[in-house]
Symmetry: C2
């Protein structure tokens, strides 16, 4: 419970209008869209400047008040939602939403933490550039949250995770001190690269208030193919050939199982099967090029032709128009939401080394099918990054609650197999509250201790997103 | 001075043969090739396993002995050379030189710290892959040093700095604890990304003993052009066009001034001017592609044709063979050594935002020419990264020692201009001993304090490379 005097001090920093205390005003900040996480807070603070963030943290640090930073509230692991104690204050960064600078020649953009990802995309396009980070939530997620969680998405194969897209940061430390690390440099070896600490730290080490992002040339040509395969081993072989042949022009390689396509055909508006016959597995292959000429399409045809001759590919459709390419992507992007229509779904966001994806899938699919006969694994995602969303839908007609009750048991089973392959139990969504206890099972005591040393060095009073990550 | 009992304990860990104490055995480890740094040490320890490194650090930490990690001894800022106190022990990683694993399908390689960069290149080529880090010192530098200094080089434009090329690390901490972070994952958001701490920390936070590196497809086609321009502003405009047009296929964009070419023609074996007339500036443009077809050459011709029509380019030569492409690169790679033949040279390894390179050059060239009339600026390097080696040769016939005596004064002048453009005083070589005092001038007290917090958290007794960086 927040002392009324303390509330008054905090409210004075942002002004009454931006210190939300009524239940209706606070509500949108207290639960996320899946309703998996909800909590309570005495106040949602909405600072309008970096200085206000600084004063809030200075005050919180002095009074030992716990702060939960929040961006677009699209996180999937509960990191941005306060707990039920009413003791955690939500710090909403949404009003810090200015694009401070765009440098097209220098391929950089300086943005505040509260900028919506899609607004950043649009601003980049206006100067004939792209900011490549691409996510399902891009219409509402904020860049500060993307950076704090080192977000992934479908463009990682060619452009890297969010970490690789950040040149500089402005961060308010737990003490309220403002660190100006807003550099626009491609190369800078002057001491420790401090920005790396805050990227992916999920708000536990400081509050990111602004960033310098890398921009990239806008592709002039894009070719998308939808490929049917007999098994995931063929998908790996195709990936190897595609990468060797197209190098950095290979910008997408997404794996999908037949059952996922069937879910889309049943539940996703506008979904059509791009191929005439069903196939056990599919990949969406995308090539992009900085130049408009015939050769990218030739390259795609050559790649698929060789794969067909080698017996890797059963059938393939090349998009004949931008609209058709988008229709292929529509199936891939729809794959998350359609699972909801098929009852309970137990989810895993895992990665393994790319070359181990097929062996992992074979083993994990067999294991969950043995554990819950009739369950329907829907493993899909970023095969080119080794990142599979290993989701498992309940058996047809089974009891949803009974299936979901086995969540932890199935997680343990799948994560055990992930560990055998040297993989990660959180490839792109982070740890937050959801996987905090799991973290202790997959990290060595030494590694956890190293993390704690950093936490203590930067947040000695433990005010920043406590109970998340560590 | 090292206590004889302490020496005995350390020598017992590695064996007498690998605890070098004679002056002749120690000599190669006590000075670097330019002879700018030299020092003294009671012993050079050459561990043959990670466990030996661990025991050495555990012992050193207990006895509070200072350790200077050393790789191929090619660093340019004195970080790897002990001081003159005879109190610093050299830890040479050269015997840890095994390639532990190559995974061609997964595009990764696991190597020990003492592997020579060129040996890594060769091992990658044997499985039809490349490890792109490319440096003048690649025949003798070791990957542990490359990672510890976040080395740059000529392939950063397309592939990033060394930091971007590392997936996992094995590090021995100051306490002797071995952290196994040898992951091969493209995506892993399970807690703080601890490897980032050690990359570029110049051996001050831990000793890197092994790494998982990213491999890339081997380019099938490469086109190299040597372009003459009237000024560096035209070079920036050409860079913007090339990047927009070729996207990730633009793999090299190196700037050189006429005087540098003249130095090469005078002093570099086999050097020929690729163009018939002299031009004030040159750029070497390289395009690479994962596929062999005519279009890469077409693309280069189109790019240069358009630039010529726009008045950006005065003349250009396209390499007609691999040998000719190498001859163009030979000029660029020879540019460092030829400066030695022209007397004293005051050096700066700086970066500014890419779009600011021409304005920076205009201002810095005018400033040094005003400071030392007749001096010959030879600014060259990685324009596409904003990283210029702003070297200044003495006036013809001037006294070398007198010119070199103005090193600090000229550094201050140039670094002041770098600061005006938000640049870095060490783009790729690091801080070491050379720029330690300068660091205090360019970093805020808060940023230095943040670095110190990390240093204290990981090396509380200050045994690891003391006096370097911080």
């Amino acid at each position: 419970m927040l002392d009324p005097d303390h509330l008054k001090r905090l409210a004075a920093i942002v002004g009454e209008a931006n210190a939300l205390t009524s239940e209706s005003d606070k509500a949108p900040h207290l639960r996320e869209w899946r309703d998996l996480y909800h909590g309570k807070t005495p106040v949602v603070l909405r600072p309008g400047s970096v200085e206000e963030v600084s004063q809030i943290l200075k005050t919180a640090n002095e009074l030992k008040l716990r702060i939960v930073p929040q961006g677009g509230n699209t996180g999937l692991v509960g990191g941005q939602i306060p707990d039920d104690s009413s003791g955690e204050i939500v710090l909403s960064l949404g009003r810090l939403n200015k694009i401070r600078k765009i440098d097209a020649d220098g391929y950089t953009m300086t943005v505040e933490a509260g900028c919506i990802l899609e607004a950043i995309h649009q601003a980049a396009e206006e100067v004939d550039r792209i900011f490549p980070l691409t996510l399902g939530a891009q219409g509402s997620c904020q860049i500060g949250g993307n950076i704090s969680t080192n977000a992934g998405g479908t463009a990682v194969l060619a452009y890297g995770n969010t970490r690789e897209l950040v040149l500089g940061l402005e961060v308010v430390l737990a003490t309220g001190e403002i660190w100006n690390g807003l550099r626009s440099l491609r190369k800078d070896n002057t001491g420790y690269d401090l920005k790396q600490l805050f990227i992916g730290a999920e708000g536990t080490l400081g509050v990111i208030t602004a960033a310098v992002l890398k921009l990239f040339p806008k592709p002039r040509d894009r070719q998308v193919a939808f490929v049917g395969l007999s098994d995931s081993h063929a998908a790996l072989a195709l990936f190897s050939q595609a990468r060797a042949k197209a190098g950095p022009m290979l910008t997408g390689f997404e794996l999908m199982p037949r059952v996922g396509i069937e879910f889309c055909l049943k539940h996703l508006e506008g979904a059509r099967d791009p191929l005439s016959e069903p196939h056990p597995w599919y990949v969406l292959v995308e090539l992009s090029s900085g130049t408009e000429n015939a050769s990218l399409r030739d390259l795609m045809e050559e790649l698929l032709g060789e794969a067909f001759e080698a017996g890797l590919v059963q059938d393939a459709a090349l998009a004949e128009s931008i609209a058709q390419g988008e229709a292929f992507w529509h199936l891939r992007h729809g794959m998350s939401e359609v699972q909801r229509e098929e009852g309970g779904s137990i989810k895993h966001d895992v990665s393994v080394p790319v070359a181990s994806v097929p062996a992992f899938l074979d083993k994990a699919i067999a294991a969950v099918e043995e554990m819950v006969p009739g369950c329907r694994p829907v493993p899909f995602g970023h095969m080119g990054d080794g990142n599979i969303h290993f989701n498992v839908s309940q058996p047809v007609g089974a009891d949803k609650a009974g299936f979901i009750a086995r969540w932890d048991e199935m997680n343990a089973l799948v994560h055990g197999i992930v560990a055998e392959f040297g993989g990660s139990i959180s490839a792109e969504h982070g740890i937050g509250r959801l996987k905090r206890d799991l973290l202790k099972e997959v990290k060595s005591e030494l590694e956890l201790d190293m993390m704690r040393r950093i936490k203590v060095a930067f947040d000695p009073n433990g005010i920043l997103n406590p109970g998340r990550v560590l």
